[in-house]
Symmetry: C5
Subunit: 82 residues, 5 copies
């Protein structure tokens, strides 16, 4: 998993039907307490907003955090760091 800070959201009107209602967030990864140049786009599952530091799960396990496990999704925000 990765830690990162939500830098913005991405709006996509024309998308896969199973993604309707998903919030796409662009997250800057943080490693060892420092901001990196790596960015991931993840779907929020915990009510996180821009500026919050979050935990992201990537790959096939990510969509286990969503209600619809048939979503074509590879990155989900699964926690907010205190």
């Amino acid at each position: 998993m990765y830690k990162g800070i939500i830098r913005g959201n991405i709006v996509s009107t024309r998308k896969q039907e199973s993604l309707v209602g998903s919030k796409f967030m662009e997250v800057q990864l943080i490693k060892n307490g420092e901001f990196t140049n790596e960015y991931i786009i993840a779907i929020d599952s915990v009510g996180a907003g821009v500026g919050e530091t979050v935990l992201i799960t990537v790959g096939s396990p990510a969509r286990l955090a969503l209600h619809n496990e048939n979503c074509p999704v590879d990155a989900v925000i699964v926690g907010i760091v205190d």
Copy 2:
């Protein structure tokens, strides 16, 4: 997931039978609003064309966006960014 801009398409006549009819697009990734040197080849599932900015899902979840889930595909365009 990744954001990127479609730079071109790739034609492959001799390919796996389950891939016949797929549109292969070469996509330049965009991170934090800047073009990167990273490129992925993804199959389109939303009617996207060259020059459009899109969302890509990679890995095992990608093919959930296709009608045939037995396709050997690891990257699919799942949305067009507004």
Copy 3:
């Protein structure tokens, strides 16, 4: 799999319900006996603590090390290096 040293833990109160009780550790990867600049956040499954050198499994197989295989988890500490 990767070898790494646990550098700290991460506290997340607001998270996916299936992650409640998980210990999130930030691990600095070690390659060829040298510390790298790569960091992964992994869930502990073997009682490892800060400062210990561990083995991490990433991706979809990682959660096979947990009791709940439906966790949205992509990295788990599966062993402590002697």
Copy 4:
């Protein structure tokens, strides 16, 4: 998926039984029309040879291109680029 050019093949006599008969090709990846320093070893599924430009699927979906889906394989050549 990736585009690349087949640079050579790899011979392995002692291998997993399910891999007997597989052709292992070393492929140099091409991004945005330029050769990169990235190389992947992939199993051929379309009759491709050294010097041909091909499409490669990686990860868990790759083995969907093979007759035996229980092969421990993470990269397969799924098309030849025209």
Copy 5:
């Protein structure tokens, strides 16, 4: 898949029960005939030893090479290069 040379093994007494008996090898990756700075820890499935050049499968397909497919393992040595 990757090609690499086995540089050493890693001993872990305290580990996941399903990993007991596994041989963990540190492998330096070889690309285009040259040693790289990339290292992976993989479980041996073909009787390979230190100094041998091997093929490694990574990710979810890796554990298909093991007798116990429920192992939390993401990299397995599946062949020895001639």
